[in-house]
């Protein structure tokens, strides 16, 4: 039964059948073959309850928040302000790329949006200041992945929905690993530029006046961060309420900078609803599939099978990491989460791994998936911001940061408290 299900699923997906249809048709097939009861009748109720889940409402709201922020035009001035603070390091503007990604990530729940926004602003400066282009591109593709680790994060919400864990806890747990990853990325840039100083570009003259004066441009992102993430931490708002506040805050920001218009809203709606609709179709199909496979006993069989392998905890962890790194090379990340987490997470929890800690690990693995070829979407986003050249440049430039991500994954595995310390302080 396990084998049939797995082979069918892989075949459907390899044939480029839409993920939602693959899951749905698999559910219908398994029900037809293995279930004595007409489980299919439940599909209406299952999808209706998934569609009205209050926590899931936050997903389109976070996407909408990002779409509005992107158009509200604060990223450029924020980038310009950060440059004066970090560009004295060996590697100059490349540090501002990472810092700007981190700050934008604190307002955005998406890695693609983070890479696209900061990349657009930063790319022209690369040529003007004579940086090694490959490495510069790498800092943008890799820095962009911070979008889903530093709260808010759409992927963490999906994880929370799939595993019934707490979004506020996950959002707290993401902060320190996020900062640690920023530090590791920056250390990587410094190390490379110490070996090859000519890759580090022309230095920028600055003074304390400019640094202090520039801080005012950091206020919009910090304001949104306080509104959205601060209200969750303070216990004032649930994730969906926080996202709602964030949407209104972003609209206010866009209105202040004179970018709010009907056509802008329409575009933002189209972008938001297009991604949300397809994501939710996958969620509906996945809920139905999970309903079927647990009703016919497949979930138990699968869990037993993995437990009977009798792998020790570290080996199991390694297996999961290898699995996600490999799958992440060929699969879109949200559908990867929705199809695998309901099966893998319960097994890991049964082995004694902390759900919040495992969530952060998954997010780091997803970040890796975003920058590993052939289908790392961030690589393509950055490539498309260029005027020409080969995708290979981006892949090579990002490679050191993939190593940095592995270092972070190792660190988190050895010292789980990097993620778990902060949530404990709030309990």
């Amino acid at each position: 039964m396990i084998l049939v299900a797995l082979v069918l699923l892989l075949a459907f997906m390899a044939l480029a059948i839409p993920v939602a249809a693959s899951l749905g048709v698999l559910g219908l097939t398994l029900e037809h073959v293995y279930s004595p009861l007409p489980l299919v009748r439940a599909i209406g109720e299952v999808t209706w309850s998934a569609s009205t889940d209050f926590l899931l409402v936050s997903v389109p709201l976070f996407i909408l928040l990002g779409e509005i922020l992107l158009r509200s035009g604060f990223a450029e001035r924020m980038y310009g302000a950060l440059v004066h603070w970090v560009s004295w390091l060996p590697g100059g503007l490349m540090h501002s790329n990472v810092a700007a990604c981190a700050l934008f990530a604190a307002t955005s729940g998406s890695s693609v949006a983070t890479a696209a926004t900061v990349g657009t602003v930063a790319m022209p400066e690369s040529r003007r200041f004579g940086y090694n282009e490959r490495l510069f591109l790498g800092t943008l593709a890799a820095g962009g992945t911070l979008g889903i680790l530093i709260p808010p994060s759409i992927n963490m919400i999906i994880y929370a929905v799939l595993t019934n864990s707490s979004v506020p806890q996950l959002y707290l747990a993401g902060i320190l690993p996020g900062m640690a990853l920023v530090a590791i990325f920056m250390a990587t840039i410094v190390a490379i530029c110490l070996i090859r100083p000519d890759w580090g570009g022309r230095a920028l003259q600055t003074d304390w006046g400019r640094r202090i004066f520039g801080l005012v441009h950091l206020l919009p992102p910090l304001g949104i961060f306080m509104l959205v993430v601060g209200s969750i931490y303070a216990g004032i708002a649930t994730p969906t309420e926080a996202a709602s506040l964030g949407v209104l805050g972003a609209l206010a920001l866009a209105a202040i900078s004179g970018r709010l218009s009907l056509s802008m809203l329409r575009e933002a709606f189209e972008g938001t609803m297009r991604s949300t609709a397809m994501l939710m179709l996958i969620v509906m199909a996945a809920y139905f599939l999970n309903f079927v496979i647990s009703a016919i006993g497949l979930t138990t069989q699968l869990t037993n099978f993995i437990q009977e392998l009798g792998l020790p905890k570290p080996a199991m962890l390694l297996a999961v990491i290898v699995f996600y790194v490999a799958l992440g090379c060929v699969m879109e990340t949200l559908s990867m989460m929705i199809t695998t987490i309901p099966i893998i997470a319960p097994v890991m929890f049964a082995l004694g791994f902390d759900p919040v800690w495992f969530g952060i690990l998954v997010i780091l693995l997803i970040e890796t998936a975003l920058v590993t070829p052939p289908v790392g979407i961030n690589l393509f986003v950055v490539q498309n911001l260029r005027r020409g050249g080969s995708l290979n440049d981006v892949i090579v430039g990002t490679a050191p940061f993939v190593v940095a991500l592995f270092v972070m994954i190792l660190l988190l595995s050895l010292v789980p408290d990097i993620a778990l310390w902060l949530p404990r302080q709030f309990q």
Partner: protein, 213 residues
């Protein structure tokens, strides 16, 4: 197939184009309504939070209403997402296949989608019909008659099914008449290339003035 035969089928396909065009116009308006519903939900929820914190009064029901708004907005956005070819497909293998085989897979993908969506829509109808028959109300202070939000949700799913069927028929006719370019335009996977190009193009509309010397 003979050349004349292909021509007949191509003509039959073209007769469907007005229907597809209409579906596109309807879908676009539905997605705006969906987006507006979502924004309305965000506003209601925000007001609820602020009032609750500032005046310690709970208006209640904001979460329930936003849940309905979400379900309806998603269902109403599905036709648009389909026509924009936004379906998430794993194209690692697909993008390396010859055009003819890729076109056949595009049709297979649509048929698989149509079969799943038709089952989904059929049983979504049972949900609405059940709520109507039992006169079911939501278990909350608002006590909403459930058939209303469920009915609007079902309407979105039904129009989605209709759009899938029109698109599938059109694509099958295009494939049989041998017009592979048209199959790709109607139903091809967007692929990571196209998806990211769009993301990049639209982020270019934002300003670039960093104020650096």
């Amino acid at each position: 197939m003979s050349r004349a035969g292909r021509q007949t089928i191509a003509n039959a396909g073209r007769r469907l184009d007005p229907a597809l065009k209409l579906a596109d116009a309807v879908a676009r308006r539905m997605v705006w309504v969906g987006g507006a519903l979502l924004l309305a939900a965000a506003t209601t929820v925000s007001v609820d939070v602020v009032v609750r914190k500032a005046f310690r009064i709970s208006l209640g029901g904001a979460d329930e209403l936003s849940g309905y708004a979400f379900a309806i907005a998603v269902a109403w956005a599905l036709p648009f997402a389909l026509l924009q070819r936004a379906n998430i497909r794993i194209d690692a293998l697909y993008s390396r296949l010859p055009a003819r085989i890729a076109a056949i897979l595009d049709v297979v993908a649509l048929i698989a989608l149509a079969s799943f969506v038709s089952v989904l829509t059929r049983y979504a109808w049972e949900v609405v019909f059940g709520s109507w028959g039992l006169n079911a109300h939501s278990n909350s202070e608002l006590s909403v008659p459930l058939w209303i939000p469920q009915g609007l949700w079902f309407l979105g799913l039904a129009l989605f099914l209709l759009t899938v069927l029109i698109l599938t028929t059109r694509t099958v006719l295009a494939l049989v008449s041998g017009d592979l370019t048209l199959v790709r335009a109607l139903a091809g996977a967007r692929g990571i290339q196209e998806e990211s190009a769009e993301e990049a193009a639209y982020s270019r509309t934002i300003g670039r003035d960093t104020g650096l010397p």
